[in-house]
Amino acid sequence: MVTQDGTAQPDALHRQRSFRVEAVVLRHSDWGEADRLLVLYTLEMGKLRALAKGARKPRSRKAGHLEPYTRVSLQLARGRDIPIVSQAETLDPYLRLREELLLSTYASYVVELLDRFTYEEGENRSIYRLLADTLSRLCTQSSPELAVRYYEIRLLDLLGFRPQLFQCSSCGAEIQPQDQFFSAALGGVLCPQCGRDTAGALPVSMPALKYLRHFQRSSFSEAARVTLSAGINREMEALMQHYLTYLLERGLNTPAFLRRVRRIDQDEPPIAN
């Protein structure tokens, strides 16, 4: 009954009948009468789909452990087509992410980015840790914006799309401390001379560029010492979303929700993309 897209399963799946993984639940969808199909990002195998049988029944022992944005320890059994969840235990419920609208929307954005950029292609522990750390930072840090901006720039790094922020992506000249341009197509900043002649290049202010560079080179605890002003945060967000959307070749669903939720929250004017 399961239609598969033919992606190869990790080797471990073929060797063992049952195995344990640590995972963050990215998404779920209804499957059959009472089951749920889960999309997981696991520590041991990267992105993975699994079936949770009976998870939609109110008395299911597993359902509460398998909600999106929960970090869980799972026992999986080899199924006919995809692994089946035999046991589930919550490691971190990230409770604030399900109770606060803005945090919940940021978590959706974090998860959507990861889901759209990754495939079932095996283990990537750095990506897993970045995801788990970011969800945890959203729950504990005073500035969710800072946690999300840091996540964007580190995720690009881990995916192999690290933007060039120190030299002009066109002529190679070292970037001077002044306002510059950014080209998604060239994957980095442009000096003012090149920027003016490049179609689709966005202006980027020196302060925004300074923070992007800082985040690209720093640990989170170093990055978290700065205070992002609302204006700089909006500029960085617009720039990152422009670049991410260019790389994905398709719009993201969650930014519209972020704009909507913030508008009611802080009476902010809508941010143009």
């Binding site: 509460g64 409770l95 399900r98 929700f257």
Partner: protein, 201 residues
């Protein structure tokens, strides 16, 4: 073996239903083929009427018989119109009605918000709910969306939208299932059960 087209058509149609795979679809199709004509005809009639014979209640957006402006619940003088229970699906109205002890009326959203899937307020009956609250007759809204990520998100969104209108907003209590076992409860459920504990009287 190549199946005759009418058979393949019905198998394909069944396969598009939730929870029905190609095997079940074939089984149902061949069952109908062998069964008395009456069964297929009754089924065909019922399928034809399901759309033409129903419409949405213009107050609560539950499914009602076509031609009616309001459903039986909204039209009933017995029900308290100032108490509105907000649910995701018409089936959830049925579930609550089976308890036999809810005195108010309903509002059916027809789904839940999902930022990742891109299901936004404009895809649900949220504008209609805000309108209903704005008109002033509602005193309390019970947010009875599913206790899932999407249901919680929808409730949080409605809370934010409706707070300015000064209406009382409540959320269905979440806790341990009847007949359940503490040992298997997840942390979210346990924490909520703990915070939502009640005085024993």
């Amino acid at each position: 073996m190549l199946l005759p087209e009418p058979i393949q058509d019905l198998i394909n149609a069944f396969s598009r239903l939730p929870g029905i795979g190609p095997k079940t679809a074939s089984r149902l199709t061949f069952y109908l083929l062998r069964a008395q004509d009456e069964l297929s005809l009754d089924l065909a009639e019922a399928l034809k009427n399901i759309k033409s014979g129903t419409s949405y209640c213009q107050t609560c957006y539950n499914i009602t018989t076509s031609g009616r402006v309001e459903c039986e619940i909204c039209a009933s003088p017995e029900r308290d119109k100032s108490l509105v229970c907000v649910v995701e699906e018409p089936l959830h109205v049925l579930a609550l009605e089976r308890t036999g002890s809810y005195p108010g009326v309903y509002h059916v959203l027809h789904g839940a918000l999902s930022p990742i899937e891109g299901i936004g307020p404009e895809d649900l009956r949220i504008r209609e709910l805000v309108e209903r609250v704005r008109s002033g007759s509602v005193k309390e809204l019970i947010l009875a969306t599913n206790p899932s990520m999407e249901g919680d998100y929808t409730a949080a969104y409605l809370h934010q939208q409706l707070l300015p209108y000064g209406v009382r907003l409540t959320r269905l209590a979440r806790g341990l299932p009847v007949g359940g076992d503490m040992e298997y409860a997840d942390q979210s459920t346990l924490l909520r059960a703990l915070f939502g504990r009640q005085e024993m009287s």
